[in-house]
């Protein structure tokens, strides 16, 4: 079918319907053969631009207005419905990537953001998995991915704060998405060398901790379940969130002022007991469940990360879990911190927070190295670690591993 015929047919429909029809036509065009020809790809792209996103009019000119938010919502509904009904993962990912793969306009990213965010709201697994694949293919630390992730964080951790349980369950339903999501999130916080310390919001931290803690293999899940990609495409290596999380946990003692947090401790409200009212058993256990401070959350997360590192051991093949270079990136942060302490005339050996930080680095590096999770230039890593302030555990670990190498 030629392009003009196709367009002619689709033009019979009004907006939401034409998008729906277009998706079916694109599926026919792209899926099922060895690989779609360039011409077919072009046709698909044209159709997407005109009938799905309504970016161009029938003469191929750019529309300046685009679609309204309400139309966006309709479009998203259509896409969701399509993705949910699509049985084949490869087909699904193919369509998804062709819809959002070559994003050149902010409009499509916006649609994608809304789509992803709504999928999170509704725990729509199929869409989330597709988004996970998209994240991986675009690269978790790419600008587009970060933008998407930021949107999701804003929607679900700032605007809507009543959905923690839904979010926590995502680790089970869509682990690949969660893994990639965390990887991207770790790129967003605690990365600036000087100036403002950008910390993750507390509820985000809680959710991530809960995810990692409850499922040690979560971090590896993107690597363990390779994405079903369209034929002919190049799969991108999945980056685990482990290095990023190590980063967070190590720097947390430096960034978080525990004394300040003590004030924020929530005193449990005394409830007035009504007559005839029995204490609900679950309520009781909840009451004993102490609310963790942020520092405690990081400690818990650190433990979870160490568990995950142990689970990241691969029986065969080269290690893939943690990039040595990524870990090396920690050293400038710690050194900057140490510098400031020196400036204030504090002895580095006596500063509990700095030592805590160094201890955590040591623990993480030791577990990672011992489990063979690290790839890349390990000697470089050790050399970088050697430049850190004096710490007994770290010293031992460096010595040991330098000898091994």
């Amino acid at each position: 079918m030629s392009l003009s015929d196709l367009k002619h047919q689709l033009r019979k429909y009004d907006f939401p319907i034409c998008a729906k029809e277009a998706l079916i036509r694109i599926e026919q065009l792209l899926v099922g053969r060895a690989a779609p020809s360039n011409k077919q790809l072009d046709i698909a792209m044209d159709v997407i631009a005109e009938f799905v996103f309504c970016e161009v009019d029938r003469r191929g000119n750019r529309r300046s207005a685009g679609i309204t938010p309400l139309q966006e919502l309709q479009l998203i509904d259509v896409i969701c419905e399509y993705l949910s009904t699509c049985g084949n993962d490869t087909t699904k990912n193919t369509i998804f990537l062709s819809l959002f793969g070559g994003i050149e306009s902010q409009r499509r990213l916006k649609v994608l953001s809304i789509l992803a965010s709504m999928a999170v709201s509704a725990s729509s697994t199929s869409v989330l998995l597709a988004v996970g694949v998209w994240l991986q293919q675009m690269g978790c630390s790419s600008a587009l991915s970060l933008q998407l992730v930021e949107n999701i964080i804003r929607d679900h951790f700032y605007l809507n704060t009543s959905n923690q349980n839904t979010l926590k369950s995502l680790a089970i339903t869509a682990p690949q998405f969660v893994s990639n999501f965390i990887t991207a999130v770790t790129e967003l916080y605690m990365h600036d060398l000087q100036g403002t310390k950008k910390l993750p919001p507390r509820n985000l931290l809680e959710v991530i901790t809960s995810w990692v803690f409850s499922n040690p293999t979560l971090c590896m899940s993107a690597q363990l379940n390779p994405a079903a990609l369209p034929s002919g495409s190049i799969p991108m290596a999945a980056v685990t969130p482990l290095a990023g999380l190590v980063h967070w946990c190590a720097l947390a003692p430096l960034y978080i002022d525990e004394d300040q947090e003590m004030v924020e401790m929530i005193v449990p409200v005394k409830r007035i007991k009504l007559e005839n009212e029995r204490d609900h058993p679950t309520f009781k256990t909840n009451a004993f469940n102490k609310v963790l401070t942020e520092a405690e959350l990081y400690t818990k997360l650190h433990l979870a990360v160490l568990h995950s590192l142990r689970a990241g051991r691969r029986t065969h093949g080269p290690p893939t879990a943690v990039n040595a270079q990524h870990l090396t990136g920690l050293t400038p942060h710690v050194q900057a911190c140490a510098h400031q302490l020196l400036k204030r005339g504090i002895k580095l050996q006596n500063d509990r927070r700095l030592q805590d930080c160094l201890d955590r680095i040591g623990q993480a590096v030791q577990v990672a190295l011992a489990n063979g999770c690290v790839y890349g230039n390990i000697s470089n890593l050790l050399a970088a670690l050697d430049t850190l302030p004096e710490n007994r555990l770290l010293r031992i670990i460096i010595k040991t591993h330098q000898q091994i190498i």
Binding site: Q74, C80, I114, A122, D155, N160
Partner: protein, 916 residues
Amino acid sequence: MNSQSKSTSLSSDLNNFIYGVSRRSSQNAPELTKIGINLLKNFPAARDAVLEYFAMVFHDAVNVSLNQSDYEADINTNGSLESVSMIGPELCSLGQSWAPFIAPWCISLIMDIATKKSNIPNATLQSTEPVRVLLDMTTQNLTLLNSDERAKCIDMMLGSWQCSWAVGWVGRAEPALVAPRALALPPDAARAVFAHLANHPPALAHVRAALVDMFHEAIKEDSKPEKRREVIPYLLNLASKSDIVLKALTQDIEVTLSESVLERVSAVCAAQRHSGAWEGVGPGALVALLLRADVRCLLLLLQCAPTYLYCRQLLEYLLQKLEYESLFSDKNIPLLTSAAEESDLVREKLLTGNQLERYSLARVLILVGYNLPSEFVSTISYLLQHSRDDATLAMLVRIISGTITMHIPNDSPDINMDTERHQNYIKTGVEYALRDAMISDTEIKRYFIEDNLPKDQKTYLHYYCLNIIKLLRWENSNRVGHLRTRPIGRAVEASLYRIGGALQEYASLLRVRPECTMASLDEMPTCHALAEVLDRVDMSGTKAPPPSVEVILKVVQATVKYFFRCLHEKDIMDKLRGVQTACRLLRKLCIHSKLARAVALRDLLETAMFREEKAFGSRSVVANTVTSNKDWANEELLIHLNQKHGPITQLTQSHTSVFHAGIIGKGVRKQNGTDNGNGIPPILTTNNELLMAALMSCMDGNSGVVEGATSVSLLLVELVSPDVMYNGLPWPDEDFTKQVSIERELYMRGALEGCAVARAALRRAAGARPALCLASALLRAAAATLLHRHRALLDRHSQSAEMARERAALAELLATMTLGQLLPHPLSHMLELAPELTASEIVQVLRDCLWNYTRDHVPSPALFTCDATGLHWRDPSTCKPPATYTDTLRLIIQKRISKLGHLYPIMFLNLEKDTQ
């Protein structure tokens, strides 16, 4: 969790929403709104769509509420209105993290609505329910934003000229942000914004801060020339369009335009005045601006006038404009209103300012006073109280005449009515000033507390009087054209009652004199001044209606009080001057009013006899009640002294029952009564003479003396006599007095003798025949007691002090009666005869010649005939006493011819001749 059903469709809510929106109508609006609100909470990603839908709802609702008339439908009948009422509280309560989305949405929605409905008046639009909700939401959410975002939102609004009202509205929450930004707009747009801000009083401070910032920035030395050039004309232009800007600019103008700033501004202006932007702000525009401004601007202008020439020109221009504008009485000029509000400030400046200030402010006050009579009144009152020099008083005269004649054409028919009205205001002003001055006198002053009272400090009332006196002098000099109608004199005449009251109060000895107030100063200077004021006005009724009875009574009483205060003055000149003034006043008052005379005489006599008797050397008439009781020791009391004699005193009716004579309560009678003063008080003292002069001045004029003296006589009888019986003219048989009324006579004699005033007055009455007749009772009392005592004493104590007193009394009685022509020719010589007679002879003479003659010739006015000149006179030739009354005398002289012979021819020869 039912993830399967969710995976097919994200949620039923979402589907319903999408479906519903595509078939949008006002019926399903509330339902869709509910879904939308749910979506917002659970699917934050759908917010754009939901908000877009809400925007449509708002547009619908605005349309609906614009089209419906007020009572046509309540809110529930229309879905979109109902939805709006749901959306409002929801979006307000979403919290801080939502504000960055909600606020811009609100603002763009407002702008949309404003643009679409630009043909509808702002006020109508603003009053519709949806717009109100929307504005509330905007304000609410703006407050949740941080300052950067807020600024961004407000900038967004300012971009659209249709919704400046919305900026004004929303800006109430954030005036500090809106005000400076609005200033960046062109004048018209800025005006609209400020007009709306003006409804919110706290915004003024921020507007002012923004304006002042801009201004200071503009006149900074190092600011960019092209930037600063426009600011001053811009501000002036804006101020000419917007009241709030003008108000903000002129608030505390003297702080904003300090001296250094002024210098700088004048430098800047001089450099830039010729550029294009300044064309709109010529003197005409400035004057128009000043007319709307605060009076403090005027004061500032006045302050600058000596330094800057153009300020003087501007001032003159402004004043002329003001005067011109004031001709249209319906026009309301804010400058004048403000001047009225701040009139205290203006008046103070009028007192303390330099000449230019004073003259200019006087012109302003004339205009203010013309429109607001109350201000006119208080200006008069203020100046009368606080003026301390002639120049200020001259200003007052100018203000008064200026206000009265401001724009009445001379041929206007209602000129009289208008003058009358103003005369009333002046009178009120004079009264207020008096009242206020008296109040200020009772206020605690710093002078006293810090103890640095100026030496010649006068009471406020004194200053007030001095001012009035000066004005009255000017008025009476007839050389001041403005005062030709005697406005002040008439005003004072109209408020005589109060001035009299003031004099009475200040002259009162019982006046409260609180510490640390002017009232604690010596009050006599004030009294003198008050009296002078009274003295200077006309009370005769020749130039103005005569004063009413109340007024006369008040002034008379006050004058009498003042008179007696003057008697106590130390300085003789002050005393005489004061007494003279009082006499003049009394004369003026009494000459036209018998009532005044009666009151004055009674007051004078009563006071002199019973309250001020010390000043005249008199003894207290009623000893027991007036002098305070001494604390007697027990053994000094009569009762104890008498009881000491024990059982012997038991016999009743026995003369031994009393050993010690005296007055109960006063102990034993002193033998030679030193405490009673020795002898009879003299008549001829200064004070007595002054009092007599005062009495006489009450009886001036035609037949006034006789009438006055008659009332004096009657008064004396009334005051001296202890009861109302036996006060008639006839003299009874001598035996009658012995048996019935001797105690009474003794008392009256004592009272009369102790009181120099009464005796002196009696003499005056004797001079004014036939007034003495009416005091017959007093004469009778004296005669009866003399007769009795002489009889009792006979010759036993001829040399004692008591005897001397009796003789003096006799001499006085004879002198008085002779003067009063009650003893015709031969009898009148008893006076010369008396000193030579023995007691028994005196008894004879008194009984036969005086008593019997007077008994048979009742001393009544009928004995006196009125001659052509109006004088009463008893012709000696027609009233020769028959021989029965003169024989005793003749026999005594004959008996003692050697000693008394020289009197015989004087007394009897002519008589003989006539009888022959």
